[in-house]
Assembly symmetry: C2
Homo-oligomer: 159 residues x 2
DNA sequence: ACTAAATCATTGACTTGTTCAACGATTGTG
DNA sequence: CACAATCGTTGAACAAGTCAATGATTTAGT
């Protein structure tokens, strides 16, 4: 069992091979979940020095584009519940990384804006995340990676 | 609220378009997370009539292959904490869908085995999940879908 | 042969993430 | 103008994930 274990990390022992060959192999949902889990782990590790979680980082990334997203926009794009967005933005705002501005065209709405401090932190965090991602996908060719992005875009935004 | 969500799902308003063009567009992590979230939602909806969640279903899928996975095997393959596996298998076992057999080669180890009842439920659930997934990816060509699986396999199982 | 380290399943506390309901203020629609 | 829809918010409940520790068993090293 132990040898099965060690080998599992290296070359794939019989148990892992058997499971890799399992019905789940063709299961996009399973593969997505697993790939996502790996990505999340790497992301969280990369963001830890900035005291950020992936969710907060994603919001920063959206806000950094200066498209002045409403909270609602953010919720939809990131597929977060509006109440999650409130909580996450509260945190970021408390840290001085973003601020809420009233939307001049609709008094129900806030737009979320990056602060200078937020922009600076995001730049560093962005570099770290990108490096982690490059590392995670180092075994993919540039063509494979590009192809993957294209296909994932289709899946992530069905329309 | 619902109509707004529906619209976002259908045509993509200007805000969604702007965000679609955002820096996150090329962010594999973001795309993975979003695709995974959609997949999870569809999966959970499909499994609701069976009173299953995706995690439990994944375990059933592994066990259904008759490869007699240990709990440890399951934990690694599905990237679950061993304590999660305990809890999930407890639930499935309580429902009579799986059982734990002692592994004859190692007294520390249980192997997880499908019951007849479990096999029957899995078959139905599997059909439902597949149908949901087909629906979710209906806009992908067969070639795209196959390509996606191949690439995800590379990402999900780096080695 | 013996001992210490490693492994498995387990328990349980804690943290993080998600969902849902309800609310007041504001906007859109008929 | 009245009502339905929308936005952000609060907060409770649920789901999922993490971590530490334990006892039993196996493995590795001497």
């Amino acid at each position: 069992m132990k040898s099965s274990r060690d080998v599992a990390g290296d070359s794939g022992a019989s148990a892992t091979d058997r499971m890799r060959a399992s019905a789940l192999k063709d299961d996009v949902s399973f593969l997505l979940a697993r790939a996502n889990a790996l990505s999340l782990s790497a992301g969280h590790a990369a963001l830890a020095p900035f005291n950020l979680r992936v969710r907060s980082y994603s919001i920063l990334a959206l806000v950094a584009d200066d498209i002045r997203p409403s909270q609602r926009d953010i919720a939809e794009h990131l597929r977060l519940d509006p109440s999650q967005v409130v909580s996450l933005i509260d945190d970021l705002q408390t840290r001085g990384l973003v601020k809420r501005d009233p939307d001049p065209t609709d008094r129900r709405t806030n737009v979320v804006v990056m602060t200078d401090e937020g922009r600076e932190l995001f730049r560093s965090a962005h570099d770290a995340v990108r490096a982690a991602e490059r590392d995670l996908h180092s075994h993919l060719s540039p063509d494979q990676r590009e192809r993957l992005s294209e296909l994932l875009l289709l899946v992530a935004f069905p329309d």
